[in-house]
């Protein structure tokens, strides 16, 4: 099995406060891997480190043979590693179409921009209807779709999503998870952070548990769903009651 994304002994600190301690994990091509953990565990920090927004204190991050941790964020995007950041972070004053087009700024993505835009509009017809609307005048769910659409415009090989369900109603969350599944079926590898551990584990093939900046466990998602400790810590109520 060839490694796709390989995170090795990564430590990240904000000034004197260390947020990640020797974190190692890997994501294989074609997988959906979830990263779950309590508030403040360092999930966002890890995603941002992969995307090039947080510098590493030590360790390395590779995509195939390519070292990512020596690249700047826009160069990492050029490699096809695209992050949908926590809280969406759209260009609120710009139109939906501008947001989408800017998502394809890297050279690689720009060449196929028109075709990608068509695919994104097929995936989210709502964005096509509202292409001239200002991004910050849309609802939370619509904004999350736009955030994912903007990331897809970058033609991701690895799509990273940091809490895509944050603050959204159950129906919207369901449709977003379905979209992620569809993207994955079409060959996009997905690395997903979620508070909503139950839904994340339902969707993912494998998962890692991050606690206080360290990897505290890993396994197949289906196994973790049945694991007593995980049930208690992250699923709260019994899974049967959630359905």
């Amino acid at each position: 099995m060839s490694d796709f994304l390989r995170i090795q002994d990564v430590s990240v600190a904000y000034g004197d406060i260390q947020a990640l301690w020797d974190v190692s994990l890997n994501v294989e091509e074609g997988e959906i891997v979830a990263l779950i953990g309590p508030n403040g565990a360092g999930k966002t920090t890890l995603m941002r480190a992969v995307a090039g927004l947080n510098p590493l204190k030590s360790g390395g991050i590779h995509l195939g043979d390519k070292a990512l941790h020596t690249l700047r964020a826009h160069q990492i995007a050029e490699q096809g590693v695209i992050l949908v950041p926590e809280g969406r972070r759209l260009f609120g004053g710009l139109s939906v179409l501008d947001n989408l087009e800017l998502g394809a700024y890297s050279k690689r993505a720009r060449q196929v921009r028109a075709e990608t835009l068509k695919l994104v509009y097929e995936l989210f017809p709502l964005l096509a209807d509202r292409k001239l609307q200002r991004a910050n005048t849309m609802s939370g769910g619509q904004q999350q779709m736009l955030a994912i659409g903007r990331a897809l415009m970058g033609v991701p090989r690895l799509l990273m999503l940091d809490e895509p369900s944050l603050g959204l109603g159950p129906l919207v969350v369901e449709s977003i998870f379905e979209t992620i599944k569809r993207m994955n079926d079409q060959g996009v590898t997905v690395f997903l952070v979620e508070q909503n551990a139950w839904q994340a584990l339902e969707l993912a093939h494998r998962a890692y548990i991050l606690e206080q900046g360290r990897i505290a466990g890993t396994g197949l998602a289906q196994e973790l769903l049945r694991d007593d400790r995980v049930k208690q810590a992250y699923l709260g109520i019994s899974p049967a009651a959630e359905v």
């Binding site: 090039g52 826009h74 995007a77 992050l83 260009f91 087009e101 998502g103 700024y105 890297s106 993505a109």
Partner: protein
Amino acid sequence: MSAFMQTLVWGIFAGAIYGIAAMGLALVFGVLKILNIAHGELVMLGGYVGFWAFTALGWDPFLALILVIPATFVLGIVLDRVIYRYVVRLWGEEKIKNSLLVSFGLGLVLSNLAQWVFTGDERSVQPSYAGQGLDVYGVLMPYTRLATLGIVLVVTVALHLFLRKTYPGKAILATAEDYESAELAGINIDRVYMLTFALSAALAGIAGQFVTFTYALAPSIGMFWTLKAMIVIVLAGTGSILGALPAGLVLGVVEALSGAYLAQTYKELVGLVIFLLVVIIRPQGLFVRK
């Protein structure tokens, strides 16, 4: 009535130069998040390029813009590479302090350099048609001032179209809104900052060229123009780039009216009073909807 109209017209002409000078400052403020105290010195240097083109090459002051614009644009690139790109990367308090100190220091260096190269003498440029103009019902409109206003309008529209309609322009707006998201989208923000600073310097240069035949040019005028531009961007609302033009016109007109109807000595004070009033009563600026 015609005296009033004349004052109003002078105010509009002066305001157009304020507007274009402030637009450059607003651009750097909105995108790089730096208050460039040396902006007025870029106005001054642009003026000297135009003065040189007039005296050494015998070029018409409006034709000289084709030299002033690229020269100040390149100067902007150099200053960004050598100085500003290191300041942009700083964070929070450190960024605020360092950007103010560094740009203040750069302003001093540039004005002293200019003093050394060009001497402290006041210069100005007088094209042959300087005294001519239109007489509209007794209101005098010199051709130089009309052309200045026209160019300011054209540049403002061009900047608007560049920012709103072109890919690099949208990248500038995106970076201004959220530079991390811009990077995630694949935008090289280092380049965006460089281009933005160069554009800002070119806008300052254009203003400087207008100064050569409207006001006096001297190495020490930088701080005056930085101050005017700062007042204008507060009026416009920090974050509004093109709002600098209407805000510049407002400042020009208010100054002209207070100079004519209060006293010439109040003219400078009035701008500062409006500045304070806007900061206190309408801190988002006159031309920003909240």
